[in-house]
Amino acid sequence: MTRDSRRFLQPEAISRISRLELQARNVVEGFLSGLHRSPYFGQSVEFVQHREYVAGDDPRRIDWKAWSKTDKYYIKQYEEDTNLRCTLLVDVSESMQFGSGAAGRGRKTASLNKYEYACAVAASLAYLLLRQQDSVGLVTFDSAVRSVVPGRSKRNHLHSVLAALDAQDPAEKTDLYSILEQVADQQSQRGMIVLISDLFVPRDGLFKGLRLLRHRGHDVLLFQILDDEELDFNYAGTTRFEGLEGAGDLVCDPRALRDGYLAALRAFLDELRRHCSQNTIDFQTIRTSEHLDAVLAHYLNHRVGMGKSGRT
């Protein structure tokens, strides 16, 4: 773990979310190995049933005793003691580089830009999951997948995750559907997909990708990272807005456009929230000025609440 990469691990955030470990166990299926039964089949000691061998099955799993009796190939199936397989999808496109920066105008501290904030969220979650010996993988993307860190549950795997986060140099335009499709294809087993992005992408592709992930049985968590100015739009005076990711330029008086901008943003967020709700996706909008620990604590509490209320 390089010194730079550690910057994504905020001690306050780690400290606070660590206290939530026990609650987190309730959140994540297979939080600790053997704690409870997994709905997934795998290699284990507790036999469940036989299944007739089909081409492609691992020959090592053939029950030779059954073959000797029945002269047919059967495969023994056991209840699997699984860990959580979590894949963190972090948007590193150019739009994530936006950050209004300095303290002031109601902001208590100087805030991170969206990319930095997203990395901090991802690092914190990775740390938490690895500490619980869950499997954590990482995919960073912009217009295409930029880096992939396969899922591991070893503690020293955090170094690989952080290194992958730090190594990005975002520049390209976001295209989310192809990314999500690619990730879905790569995840042979169902798991948790955590998407961290500003979601300033074409909506059709976004919604289509999210539906795909859900269709594949993944539990999808959506963290939308937005800057204060993006949410409040408190600019004044003639300003030239230069669109990131080639969205064009606009010279205007921001006050004249503020109401329309906020209405359009609100409509987008409502649509996003509605879509996530329909597809049982956890959706959370986070301001970069908010304290990360508070945000994560609040979110995990929320998840705990949802788990107790009967969520499988």
């Binding site: 739009s95 994530m96 580089q97 936006f98 109601g106 969206k114 500003d198 300033f200 800057d227 993006e230 600019y235 004044a236 005076g237 003639t238 300003t239 030239r240 807005f241 230069e242 669109g243 990131l244 990711e245 969205a247 064009g248 606009l250 010279v251 205007c252 008086d253 006050r255 004249a256 456009l257 503020r258 109401d259 329309g260 901008y261 209405a263 359009a264 943003l265 987008f268």
Partner: protein, 745 residues
């Protein structure tokens, strides 16, 4: 360009720079578009959506705001450039000319000085403003200029207002001087009214440019009447003030003295009266006296003069040489200079000749009188001549200051006529009776039922019945200049004076109007009476001048001063104090047999004005009785007496000799009152039916049909305010101003 704009704006020179200023909001708009900050922005989708949705509205609002700002600048430019809307230009009569008749009040009160300018200077500036119309709209208006001092002679009559005339006018105005005279503004108004009545035109305006003193309106009903008539004749009456406040003012209202008794080296008592016309107490008022232009070392000081009050101081002046002497009394400078000096010219003789006619055979009646008047002529200033009754026929009486008739029994008819002529022309006559007086003659020839030289019908000689036990004086006196010696501490002298006999008036005689009893005997019978005959004064004593009937002549302290006072008093009729007021014509009347028609006048400014006096046509009517033979006269009235001071008239005799006569001219007391008439008071005087415009000092908005100008000025101001309010509202709506909650945050 400017010329064409000048008909539309009061300040056309500001229009072009102002028009350039209108571009300022546009330039500022573009500069703001170029001066922007850059922000790299992720959420462009929503911003572009907002911009797309609001583009048309924003464009319209921005254009509207820009338009409002341009209009605001244009409004400001108009406000400064002062646009004009002249209804005449839209009227059917626009080809007809507008006439302005301006009457300038050039009375002495217009010399009222405030800072470095006078009310008269302000009046000339008003004329310049009015004439300025010609520069902007040449040949559309005419100007007639009148001076209140010369109403029948306009300085300019119906002159077209154009550049050429303006140059002439400026030269003329520079040469104008304010007079020192009291003037009747109503005469000027009447002259203006007549001029306007003959002027056809679309608009006729009468401008009265004056200081509008209270007395101009309170004491002159004709002024308001004349203005009212003009208004009813559809003339616009415009009253323009040239001074805004009443200044305090001290003025010398009189300078007088017994100049008829003046003589070389005889102290002459002069008195000067100073009036405080202001509203504050004047203290330590110092008067400077100049004799023949030489400042007298002593300065007379009046400690205090209350507002509206006057104080008189007396001082003695002595002249070492015979001939004319000029006395000038001056006050320190104050806002009005005209009344700060007063002038007196005195012709001082060696002595004043007095003729004494004694009817007694031994001249006993005249003994004490001659002694009293002429014992020391260089001290008394009188040189008495004693003579008989018949000398009245022979002597030219005109050379005597006064004539005393003592104990005259009767007078020959030609002597009576000579005396009547003498007194009627201003000579002084004193009667003293005595034992020889024939009452019947006096009653018949001299009294003539009240029409003669003698004031009363006589009875006979009477005893006063002296009562040794009665301590009261035998006679008492009234307040009269002759008896000044008894006024203060002289009462005691009366106690020593005894009268044994007197000539009583007839029982049926009572003092008629014009006859005043100035001293009475203990028994209430008249002792002395005074009356006038023609221009002359006659004082009659019903006792003797000798010691036959009274011991009065033997008491010098009681007798001598009274005779001297009597001689002085009688002489004043002969040579009354000639007080002339500036503007009053100097009437030159010369006997053609003695004088040449060529004269020269020396006004106070040091110039010399040669004049040839015309021969007066002899009157065709019969000369009045006693007027003497009709003489052939050179007669002329010299009217240019505007300057206060002493005017010298040098006349040449036929024998090539020269005489100089001097006349003192002083400013009118009326012009010293500087209290202003209020606007309300003027309106009251004009009456409710007269809508005259009354312009305050320094306000020139009315110039050029300027009421209209003012109205459009107000309209521009109102519209500008509306535009500015709309601009603010629009700017707020466009969020160019932070909302209150945001400001608080």
């Amino acid at each position: 360009m400017l010329e064409s704009l000048s008909s539309l704006f009061i300040h056309p020179e500001l229009v072009i720079p102002g028009a350039l200023l209108i571009a300022a909001p546009i330039i500022i708009h573009f500069i703001n578009r170029l001066r922007f900050r850059r922000v790299k922005w992720a959420a462009m989708e929503f911003l572009l959506a907002s911009q797309q949705r609001n583009r048309r509205r924003l464009l319209l609002e921005q254009l509207l705001l820009l338009l409002l700002r341009i209009l605001a600048v244009a409004g400001l430019v108009l406000l400064v450039a002062r646009p004009l809307v002249d209804p005449d230009q839209f009227s059917l009569f626009q080809r007809q000319k507008s006439h302005h008749v301006v009457l300038i009040d050039d009375s002495a009160s217009m010399r009222d000085r405030s800072d470095e300018t006078t009310a008269f200077d302000a009046a000339l500036n008003v004329v310049r403003r009015i004439a300025g119309l010609g520069e902007r709209r040449p040949d559309t208006q005419t100007l007639t200029l009148l001076l209140a001092s010369k109403p029948p002679q306009p300085l300019y009559t119906q002159e077209n207002l154009n550049r050429e005339f303006l140059a002439r006018l400026e030269t003329g105005l520079k040469a104008l001087r304010c007079s020192h005279r009291a003037l009747d503004l109503s005469a000027g108004c009447e002259a203006g009214r007549k001029l306007l009545a003959d002027m056809p035109g679309a608009a006729r305006t009468f401008h009265l440019v004056s200081d509008f003193r209270r007395h101009d309106w309170d004491e002159n009903a004709a002024l308001a009447s004349s203005l009212r008539e003009m208004y009813l004749d559809k003339v616009t009456v415009n009253l323009v003030r040239t001074t805004g406040e009443s200044h305090s003012n001290l003025g010398i209202t009189s300078l007088t003295g017994t100049v008829s008794a003046a003589a070389v080296n005889v102290p002459l008592r002069l008195s000067a009266t100073v009036r405080n016309y202001g509203e504050q107490v004047a203290q330590d008022v110092r008067l400077t006296v100049l004799v023949d232009g030489q400042k007298r070392p002593a300065i007379e000081t009046i400690e205090k003069i209350d507002p509206g009050q006057e104080r008189t101081i007396e001082f003695d002046e002595q002249f070492a040489k015979t001939g004319p002497h000029d006395v000038q009394v001056s006050l320190p400078a104050d806002p009005l200079d005209s009344d700060n000096s007063r002038f007196l010219s005195i012709d001082v003789p060696d002595t004043n000749p007095v003729l004494v006619i004694d009817g007694s055979s031994d001249d006993s009646e005249a003994f004490y009188l001659i002694d009293a008047l002429g014992a020391v002529p260089e001290k008394t200033g009188f040189s008495p001549t004693l003579d008989r009754v018949d000398s009245l026929k022979r002597r030219p009486l005109e050379k005597f200051r006064s004539i005393f008739l003592l104990n005259v029994s009767e007078l020959p008819p030609d002597a009576v006529r000579a005396l009547e002529s003498y007194v009627a022309a201003g000579g002084g006559l004193a009667w003293f009776l005595g034992p020889q007086v024939r009452a019947a003659f006096y009653n018949e020839t001299l009294y003539k039922n009240g029409a003669g030289l003698f004031p009363a019908r006589l009875g006979g000689v009477a005893d006063l019945n002296a009562d040794a036990a009665d301590p009261s004086p035998d006679f008492s006196v009234t307040k009269h200049p002759v008896f000044d010696v008894f006024q203060d501490d002289g009462d005691e002298l009366l106690n020593y004076t005894r009268v044994t006999h007197y000539v009583a008036t007839a029982r049926d005689w009572a003092p008629p109007d014009g006859v005043r009893v100035i001293a009475t005997l203990r028994n209430r019978s008249p002792l002395a009476v005074e009356h006038r005959f023609g221009k002359g004064r006659v004082v009659t004593f019903f006792v003797s001048c000798g010691t036959a009937w009274t011991n009065w002549p033997r008491i010098p302290d009681a007798f001598v001063p009274i005779q001297l006072q009597l001689a002085t008093y009688l002489a004043e009729g002969r040579q009354p104090l000639d007080v002339k007021t500036v503007g009053e014509p100097l009437v030159i009347s010369l006997d053609a047999a003695t004088y040449a028609p060529q004269v020269e006048i020396h006004p106070p400014d040091g110039t010399r004005v040669p004049l040839t006096v015309g021969l007066k046509k002899p009157a065709t009517s019969t000369p009045p009785e006693g007027a003497g033979d009709q003489k052939l006269l050179y007669e002329e009235a010299y009217a240019n007496t505007d300057q206060p001071g002493v005017y010298a008239l040098v006349v040449k005799r036929q024998d090539a000799g020269e005489e100089t006569r001097r006349y003192a001219y002083n400013a009118s007391e009326a012009e010293s009152r500087l209290a202003l008439a209020t606007t309300d008071a003027i309106k009251r005087k004009l009456g409710p039916d007269v809508a005259a415009q009354i312009q305050e000092v320094g306000d020139f908005n009315w110039v050029r049909g300027e009421e209209t100008t003012r109205e459009i000025h107000d309209y521009v101001l109102a519209i500008l305010l509306i535009i500015l309010l709309a601009e603010q509202a629009m700017a707020l709506r466009l969020s160019y101003h932070p909302k209150p909650a945001e400001v608080q945050a």
